[in-house]
Symmetry: C2
């Protein structure tokens, strides 16, 4: 049982527009989804969106826990979470492939997730992979050209390939390892406790602002902050406010306004619960590692590449640290080219 897909037409200056199409929908998955850590979701819904050249091979694009099914949208570039990387003529080139995006289970989009104040089971990256596989069945996509996953999305890509080797030809995993690093778990544990503390007092938004401010600091590199925020503090309402503090909390407020605290808790925990067996991922995998990533240290990425049976490691340098996957379109371009050269 599925809701009818909504078809959008891509128009505008793009010369490939005539052959481009967008389909989107919210599918109700058949039956129960048994969850890796216990419990199940009954007939969960999954929001999806497929955009690109009609009939072209399909590439699934998965991002961080804040990502969603709208990977790119030439008509509203700011609405796509990966607009700098995906789209017609971009590194992930929608004039050559169709790009499938999903709303995460447990997230703030159209997929089944926690409600305000509600209880929701712990989710594994395997659960996201299972839901994605059921979506492919629904969409009658026998085999993906590739899954491109960054951050949490990279974890889900690995989990998918471990379970469904015959459904995907190639992985491109950016800044995601086979498990979370304990220092990253430390930072996220503090974020979750902040949010739960604030939630318990009825101040979810303050908790989300604090958590996102901390998260933003972990997403970037010390050198970037040193270059951007060297100015002295200014006095505001009788207190010193530091440039980096203003930046982090402005971002925190934006995020709190559009992301549900309960979803944050669920997906943040899911990152820390992630633990796959890299030795069982048979799919050829390009591993992209960022040397300045504080959240996913380069050593963990090298170890992942060493454990994967068929991996190519591609290291890049970026001041943006963990956020390089959102910012480094130029550096990532040659990596994405690998997707198009693969014979079907």
């Amino acid at each position: 049982m599925s809701l009818a897909p909504q078809h959008e037409n891509l128009t505008g200056a793009d010369p490939d527009a005539a052959s481009a199409e967008v389909a989107a929908g919210v599918v109700q998955l058949p039956g129960r989804l048994a969850l890796h850590h216990g419990g199940s979701l009954d007939h969960p819904t999954l929001g999806w969106r497929l955009a690109g050249r009609a009939g072209a091979p399909v590439v699934v694009a998965l991002g961080g826990i804040s990502a969603h099914r709208r990977v790119f949208d030439p008509e509203q570039p700011r609405a796509g979470w990966w607009s700098g990387i995906a789209g017609p003529g971009r590194a992930l080139d929608s004039s050559r492939v169709r790009v499938l995006g999903i709303d995460w289970l447990g997230g703030s989009g159209e997929s089944t997730g926690p409600t305000a104040g509600g209880v929701f089971p712990s989710l594994s990256s395997y659960d996201q992979a299972d839901a994605l596989c059921q979506l492919l069945d629904h969409l009658e996509i026998a085999r993906l050209r590739a899954i491109v996953g960054a951050s949490y999305g990279g974890m889900v890509a690995l989990a998918f390939a471990e379970r469904y080797a015959d459904r995907v030809q190639q992985l491109l995993v950016i800044s995601a390892a086979d498990r979370a690093h304990p220092m990253a778990t430390a930072w996220r544990s503090v974020q979750r406790r902040m949010v739960r503390f604030a939630l318990s007092g009825g101040h979810a938004s303050d908790g989300m602002e604090l958590a996102r401010a901390l998260a933003m600091a972990t997403y970037r590199s010390p050198d970037e902050f040193a270059a951007r925020f060297a100015q002295p503090p200014r006095q505001l309402d009788g207190r010193f406010v530091f440039p980096v503090e203003e930046y982090l909390f402005a971002r925190g407020r934006d995020y709190a306004a559009r992301y549900r605290a309960e979803s944050f808790l669920c997906l943040s925990e899911s990152i820390d619960l992630h633990a796959i067996d890299a030795g069982r991922v048979a799919t050829p995998t390009v591993v992209v590692a960022v040397r300045e990533d504080q959240l996913v240290p380069i050593g963990d990425m090298r170890a992942l590449a060493a454990r994967l049976p068929h991996a190519r490691l591609h290291e890049i340098t970026s001041l943006h640290g963990h956020d390089a996957f959102l910012k480094e379109g130029t550096a990532l371009q040659p990596v994405f080219e690998l997707l198009y050269g693969v014979p079907e």
Copy 2:
């Protein structure tokens, strides 16, 4: 005007005990202490403690914002914040020098600081240096053999030497630069906002627990956490709790029980306000830098050593990161030897 010093006798197995003495007191400084960022403190009090071989040269030992005047105490090793480093026969050898410790202005000890719910002015590392200089006048110590300062204490040591070159012969600065790194300011800004948020709801202790948990993560290195906390999470009260999370929050609860939130806010801000002119520090300085320190990156320590007119840089490697000054007695031993070879 000063309170009478309390004399303690050191006894026990130490062969130097006969010649060792401990004096401690709380002095009320004369007049107003004008503060670097505006405002003043009227007749502030300063808690101090002097322990070591009677008549020996005096070394001031200053630690992080949680440190206090009891640097070491052979009778109660756990009561001294630097018991692993300072004491008879230790790296900072109290059988060769007398060790002077203070309670920070603005802190949770015997010195003037904020009261619960009270307003307190912003403090500079220069203000701590000014108060220390007035204490030396009171104790009739014309010139210090050295100031050994780590973390915030290193910042205060630098501020002191810039202002009072004739009062100190040697500096030993561990894991402290001429200003805070913006990434460290980011982490501390989040901590302060957490504490203020919790304070505003009457939950200071919860805020302190969260802030300290985050701070602990920044004090250690990712490699240490990777080695210690690789185990999977366990379920507790129906929720997954990660090993690193249990550790951080146990430490956070301990800290919240013994440290005043208002003092934490004051001294945490003071770290981020710290900005001295290294080029004006004429005192010979040994700079000890820890390559794994996330809070004070090695690049900042090298730059400090390059800017100081008379510096020797000593780099060490430690899994303990910023906390190396508390843990690496063996590695620090040869550095401290430099203090004793200096002719007066």
